[in-house]
């Protein structure tokens, strides 16, 4: 399997990701439900519009997202793949159905007027395999 295929498989199979946002130079990390399409260069996630991450994105839309498949055993150092996605996040309601296809259980949450649908336009992908092999893909090049 090529590295790109491994990355696709990982982001599709994992429901959650760690999202990093920042405000006034303070980083902030949270778990979010995500749906990512590498080909389309998009990651969709949802959060309440009054959450700290949503507030942060208003000030600085540049975010980083981390998805991995760790099992929390010693084998992770051989078997885990970690993918970092970097890009700009904006609030765009048009991806609601697309997001719900993967996360039907979140229907009530997604349809709440206080919830926002966000889309990250992926600019860059970084991949770590076997503990310390690192590859990167800059989509702007």
């Amino acid at each position: 399997m090529s590295l790109l295929e491994k990355v696709k498989k990982l982001v599709e199979s994992q429901p959650l990701a760690v999202l990093s946002t920042s405000r006034e130079n303070y980083p902030h990390t949270t778990l979010v439900a995500q749906r990512t399409n590498i080909q389309e260069r998009k990651t969709i996630f949802v959060t309440t519009t009054s959450s700290r991450k949503a507030e942060n994105i208003k000030e600085n839309p540049q975010v980083s997202l981390f998805i991995d498949n760790r099992q929390n055993t010693y084998k992770d150092f051989r078997d885990t793949i970690g993918v970092t996605i970097k890009g700009k996040a904006t609030q765009t309601p048009e991806y609601t159905d697309y997001f719900l296809e993967k996360h039907p259980n979140l229907i009530d949450f997604v349809h709440s007027p206080s919830t926002g649908i966000f889309c990250i336009e992926i600019e860059r992908i970084e991949v770590v395999t076997e503990f310390q092999k690192v590859y990167e893909l800059n989509l702007n090049e």
Binding site: S2, L3, L4, Y74, K75, F77, R78, I125, E126, V127, E130, F131, Q132, K133, V134, Y135, E136, L137, N138
Partner: protein, 708 residues
């Protein structure tokens, strides 16, 4: 854990984790065969220890560096050595010691053997002899525990890694039970084959006075009998000249001369012989396969030390056998060293010097082709000798490394290479000559100018000749070479630090008992000699490569003269054919390029060959002319540093090589100069580009390509 140590006689048919050897020994006891008393530390203790100390996770990380299929044998040895050092440096946690020590107290006052008993090994049904380690003459519980760790480590020996598929070796599943057995100090010992390798109708029994070690090591020639299996009739008896025997001593064993009476009497009489023969047949019947048996007699009792199936001749094409044959004893290597230094190397030098005398330009085309063929043949000849003699000799360095690590237990498993430094290697000598010339030129600009102008003045001509000789291999004008010398003249790379080596040598020698000093010294001497030869032989082989290349270059030049433009990487045959037919003949497809992935590497993992951390501009060597573009302070990125390009090394601030290994030429030279170096980066020259900012982490074996 309910119980972690079992007596061999306690082993039953349950699925206790005791391994192949313990199980078959237990079975023999049940069948009434006498074997030395012993116990087995079950595999669960290995699991407990590797979990508790984190070693299991460390092995995973070590073995994730590179795919096995991409690893060279040297790299397997390196990985195995690093794993061995983990076990060697990590004592058994108190809790585990408390658990097993009380179950081993009966061995405290005795000499014991500590042997591997892995699942696949020596089960009496299959034979994977020699993949794992065994230790004899172990004294006391503390030493038993120490040797147990080394036997555990040998689950990951280079040989085991080589046969990982057959063994089903896996970090998650594999385990290593350990057998502790009392040593029986035999008065007479020997080996027996229930089926003679030469005649399946017969069996063969060999016997010596004293310990079997003398026979196995080849030091004592045995009496040898062949016996008809059918009716126990003795068909032959070979009597050697009996002079010495190996007997037990305080630190293991020692050689002693035989008294007159024993010299004239075979170690066993006919009735004893028949008794052994019957026993061996019984063992064959028990295991259902012809057996290779080690036996000993102590106070009139016959003990079976080992019984394993006779290894049928292995597949000769399996090149792994060749690799395993490289593991040689100190004595064997000393013999080899003599042959290499006294015969092979002088012959190599002599022949090269003769060949270098031929003036290629004076040969006509058919003569030139003959010369190319001759040189290619000689290169192949020496190349074969390189594989058969020099590579086994390189094992001397490893042998010393293992001895050093076992005694000194250093944090860095490659600390031993510091003791090997400064042994006047040919390539370092040549580098010193080059530096000297570079300095001479920088101090005397008019002289440099004269050489560049092609002056015929004596001093200039002499120096120019010397320069041309040093760079004979390269078809370059003097200007490019002098450009490089300008870079070289102000390098301040230090030569090895003698002081540290002296200190470490002292530490090493002190770790041995008085009566083992000469062994320790001999191992060090051989390690040094092997280290030096590893470099020298490369340089010498390089001379033959240069000879062939010169002849081929001459042919290419003639092709060009006839209007045929040769391509850069034409093969020998293609050049010859082209020269005969006066047109370009390319017989193969253009070399494949690696599939380019969109992903660019940011951090690559190789082997930490020389410690240190440095960031700089990469200079990738794709063709020879790139060498002469090298600027001081750049990071050298190449396929492998061949001995002919060693002169570039002192200019580099860091080194990245595709070829992997801690003891390859490039790593050896980098170590001598203390330049951070990472080896074994697949596709290094394709993934890094000249001008890239790269970081070489020689501590962890990482290469980082710095991009925004």
């Amino acid at each position: 854990m309910s119980k972690s140590v079992y007596l061999l006689s306690e082993i039953d048919d349950s699925d206790l984790n005791v391994g192949g050897k313990a199980r078959s020994l237990g079975y023999l006891i049940k069948q009434g065969i006498q074997v030395p008393q012993g116990s087995v530390i079950i595999g669960d203790v290995y699991d407990w220890y590797t979990e508790k100390t984190g070693i299991r996770g460390r092995i995973i990380i070590e073995l994730s560096r590179k795919k096995f299929t991409d690893m060279r044998w040297e790299e397997l040895w390196d990985a195995s050595q690093r794993i061995r050092n983990m076990f060697n440096k990590t004592s058994i946690p108190e809790k585990i010691r408390e658990e097993i020590k009380p179950q081993l107290t009966q061995y405290n006052e005795k000499k014991t053997a500590v042997r591997s008993s892995s699942a696949a090994e020596d089960s009496g049904q299959t034979s994977f002899a020699g993949l794992h380690e065994s230790y004899v003459n172990v004294s006391g519980i503390e030493e038993i525990l120490e040797k147990t760790r080394l036997v555990w480590a040998s689950l990951w020996s280079d040989a085991a890694l080589l046969y990982r598929q057959e063994l089903g070796l896996s970090v998650d599943e594999s385990t290593m039970p350990v057998v502790i057995q009392e040593m029986i100090q035999g008065d007479v010992s020997g080996v027996a084959f229930s089926k003679s390798p030469n005649n399946p109708e017969e069996m063969m029994i060999e016997a010596v006075y004293g310990l079997c070690k003398g026979l196995v090591d080849g030091k004592v020639e045995p009496d040898r009998w062949t016996i008809k299996r059918e009716n126990m009739e003795i068909t032959s008896h070979f009597e050697p000249i009996r002079e010495i025997s190996i007997i037990a001593s305080e630190n293991g064993s020692k050689e002693t001369t035989l008294p007159e009476t024993k010299r004239h009497t075979p170690p066993i009489d006919n009735s004893r012989l028949t008794q052994i023969a019957n026993l061996v047949l019984k063992l064959e019947k028990i295991f259902g396969k012809p057996q290779d048996v080690e036996w000993t007699i102590n106070e009139d009792e016959i003990y079976i030390i080992q019984a394993r199936p006779i290894t049928t001749i292995q597949d000769k094409d399996d090149i792994r056998n060749w690799y395993l044959s490289l593991r040689r004893s100190l004595d064997n290597l000393i013999e080899l060293e003599k042959r290499i230094t006294k015969e092979i190397i002088p012959e190599m030098i002599h022949e090269a010097t003769q060949l270098e005398k031929t003036n290629l330009t004076q040969l006509n085309n058919p003569e030139l082709i003959e010369e190319i063929n001759h040189r290619a043949g000689r290169m192949k000849h020496w190349h074969d000798i390189y594989w058969d003699e020099f590579i086994p000799m390189a094992h001397g360095t490893r042998l010393f490394g293992q001895i050093y690590n076992d005694r000194v237990k250093p944090d860095d498993p490659y600390e031993f290479t510091k003791l090997l430094s400064g042994t006047n290697m040919l390539s370092l000598e040549r580098n010193n000559r080059i530096t000297e010339i570079a300095r001479k030129l920088s101090e005397n600009p008019p002289l440099k100018e004269k050489i560049l102008q092609g002056s015929t003045e004596e001093q200039a001509t002499r120096l120019k000749e010397e320069i041309t000789e040093l760079f004979a291999r390269y078809n370059l004008d003097i200007k490019s070479i002098i450009g490089l010398l300008d870079e070289i003249q102000d390098t301040e790379k230090e030569q090895p630090k003698k002081k540290e080596a002296e200190k470490l040598t002292e530490k090493y020698l002190k770790s041995f008992e008085k009566d083992q000093q000469s062994f320790a010294e001999e191992a060090l001497r051989l390690g040094r000699s092997s280290w030096k030869l590893r470099d020298d032989d490369n340089i010498l082989l390089g001379r033959y490569e240069t000879l062939l290349k010169k002849a081929l270059d001459e042919a290419k030049k003639r092709l060009l003269d006839t209007g045929v433009e040769p391509i850069e990487d034409m093969l020998e045959d293609e050049i010859i054919l082209s020269l005969l037919q006066e047109e370009k003949v390319v017989t193969r497809e253009k070399r494949e390029h690696i599939e380019e992935e969109k992903f660019k590497p940011r951090q690559l993992v190789g082997q930490p060959a020389v410690p240190g951390l440095i960031t700089g501009k990469a200079r990738v060597i794709n063709e020879e002319s790139d060498l002469f573009k090298f600027k001081k302070g750049e990071i050298l990125v190449c396929d492998s540093i061949d001995p002919n390009m060693t002169f570039i090394v002192p200019l580099a601030n860091g080194i990245i090589e595709r070829r992997g290994g801690m003891l390859i030429h490039g790593a050896i030279i980098a170590r001598e100069y203390g330049i951070p170096c990472v080896t074994g980066i697949p596709n290094a020259t394709k993934l890094v580009e000249t001008g890239d900012s790269v970081t070489v982490d020689g501590y962890l074996g990482l290469v980082i390509i710095n991009r925004l």
